[in-house]
Symmetry: C2
Subunit: 329 residues, 2 copies
């Protein structure tokens, strides 16, 4: 640590070439003479040379780092979703020598980080409708990709799961399991996910010719799920329930049980997310799984692409969800 690292200069001297040539070898420029290249490569390995990133960044104007922006409350960090995003992103950027920096959603900080060239672009997860950050970033023409369809349409790159298709998966499953009186606890209906999941569920039940399901609005929280379940208890006929998030389902399940509904015998329940609560709750939850790691990897790819070619048109990708069947249905 105290010993100064080897520089390009020294490698060049040892190899008997110019710094430019060493630089070309390090950066894989094809036009270097084979023999020279080998001499340089040997010098690099004997010295253990590794390029100083700050020096490179200074001239290339690239930080070699992207940011993962967390919502300011910091609540999300506790969410297993967050970890899945990280494990999806890391394998795609590491081979590119790009770092992943965690940062809070403070607007100034994010914009500053990019302006200081400490970050080449950012991935935004869990943005709310009121969040001005996405718009600010695209207006500043800074590379950004969202982890979900934006609340209001805008020209921004995003990756999402087909929410409606996921809800339809849940409906189809409940119906094919014999349920005839469906109900759903929705997400907040001002969010795209809340809307799309409800729509997908309603369309699928209609497609099967079943009567209109009972709809109770939730808020994606455990408490919200419990409250909604309480309401649902009033309707004794319900035999199939789609809860638009696993977290709400963990709130709903104990209420349903205390209300005398046996799951899955008398009432089948399907969640959404396949988050860790789905595995831990009792009974373990049948749920709609988003391919979060794959989605995150795609976000990373799109962002890197955008950093390299800021002029390219924005493009978005939608993934197909799958159903994970456990004991609640």
């Amino acid at each position: 640590m105290d010993r100064r690292p080897v520089t390009l200069e020294e490698v060049a001297r040892i190899a008997g070439v110019s710094r430019a040539t060493v630089s070309r070898v390090v950066n894989g420029v094809a036009t270097v003479d084979r023999e020279l290249r080998q001499v340089v490569e040997k010098a690099i390995s004997t010295t253990g040379y590794t390029p100083n990133r700050a020096a490179r960044s200074l001239v290339t104007r690239r930080a070699g780092a992207i940011g993962l922006v967390l919502p300011e409350e910091g609540r999300t960090v506790h969410d297993p979703y967050f970890g899945r995003v990280v494990s999806g992103v890391l394998p795609v950027i590491r081979p590119l020598g790009v770092q992943l920096v965690l940062t809070t959603g403070d607007h100034r900080e994010v914009v500053d980080d990019i302006r200081q060239r400490r970050l080449d672009g950012v991935i935004l997860i869990h943005t709310h409708g009121a969040d001005p950050l996405p718009r600010q970033l695209i207006e500043a023409n800074l590379p950004v990709v969202l982890a979900a369809r934006p609340v209001r349409p805008m020209s921004i790159t995003y990756v999402d799961v087909d929410q409606a298709a996921g809800a339809a998966l849940a409906a189809d499953h409940l119906i094919s399991s014999g349920c005839r009186h469906l109900a759903t606890i929705t997400g907040p209906l001002e969010t795209p996910a809340g809307q799309d999941r409800l729509r997908g569920f309603l369309e699928a039940t209609a497609r099967h010719g079943l009567p209109e399901p009972v709809v109770v609005e939730g808020d994606f929280s455990r408490e919200g799920g419990a409250k909604a379940a309480q309401e649902l208890l009033a309707d004794a006929a319900v035999d199939g329930l789609f809860v638009a998030s696993d977290l709400m389902a963990t709130g709903a399940l104990p209420v349903l049980r205390q209300g005398g509904r046996r799951v899955p015998e008398a009432l089948k329940v399907v969640g959404f997310d396949d988050s860790s609560p789905a595995v831990e709750c009792d009974p373990p939850l049948t749920t709609v799984r988003q391919p979060v790691e794959d989605m995150a990897a795609e976000m990373a790819r799109l962002l890197v692409e955008r950093v390299e070619r800021p002029d390219r048109p924005v493009s978005s990708v939608v993934f197909a969800p799958t159903l994970v069947i456990r004991q609640s249905s």
Copy 2:
């Protein structure tokens, strides 16, 4: 983004001073004349100047970033513990202008990141006994802090919770709740946490004059908890159980229930960690809580300190755990 950011040079020209003076103002050097300082500050705010970090890093030889090293399997990332660490670290380093970089535990990458001066130091969480990384880092004299006492004693900075005291908290609580026949499902006994929690538990029960508890070794996994609980079923007298991790407890609880043990009526259970499974399982778990956020903040502080003063002796900090009482006891 296309428009080039403002540089020191331009601010200096506008303020009518040298670059050196602007640099001094930006870095808060006290010796700058009041009036000059104000002129410079005005120039900074009108231009919206913000320093280029790569340029600064190049001369200061500081990356202005620390790494949070994840175990290679990537499993840990799904763990809520990880998120708590992040939310503890971020608030202490952001005001210092230091970035938090996520990286996998690949040895070469970590060492390279530090040698390339992309990282000033690292926080290691979830290291195993066989992991050579901690030793490699201290031998290379690179700033590092561990999230727990190292398996083998070495001269390294770490932060830990008083594991034995936490286990004693559990024992005291079970005993004061009327339990007389105690048992414990331990962690893997080759880990410091496994050892210390067992020792603390045994010492506390002995202190109360109770007979030696039943001890079944676990492995900190859900499945391990289930398996150990199965063994425990053989002993009908047990009325108080300390499970050395919440995750194991979530595996144990269903087994105990199916074995006819009612929790908490016939058998009181206490976990360790206060992780999210503790809240989600049925019944919600009384558990020993580690002040993870505080511990993480301290890790960040110690690391930053170490980066600034590599010559200082290593120092470690041990935090006191607390008991969170829920329905399982």
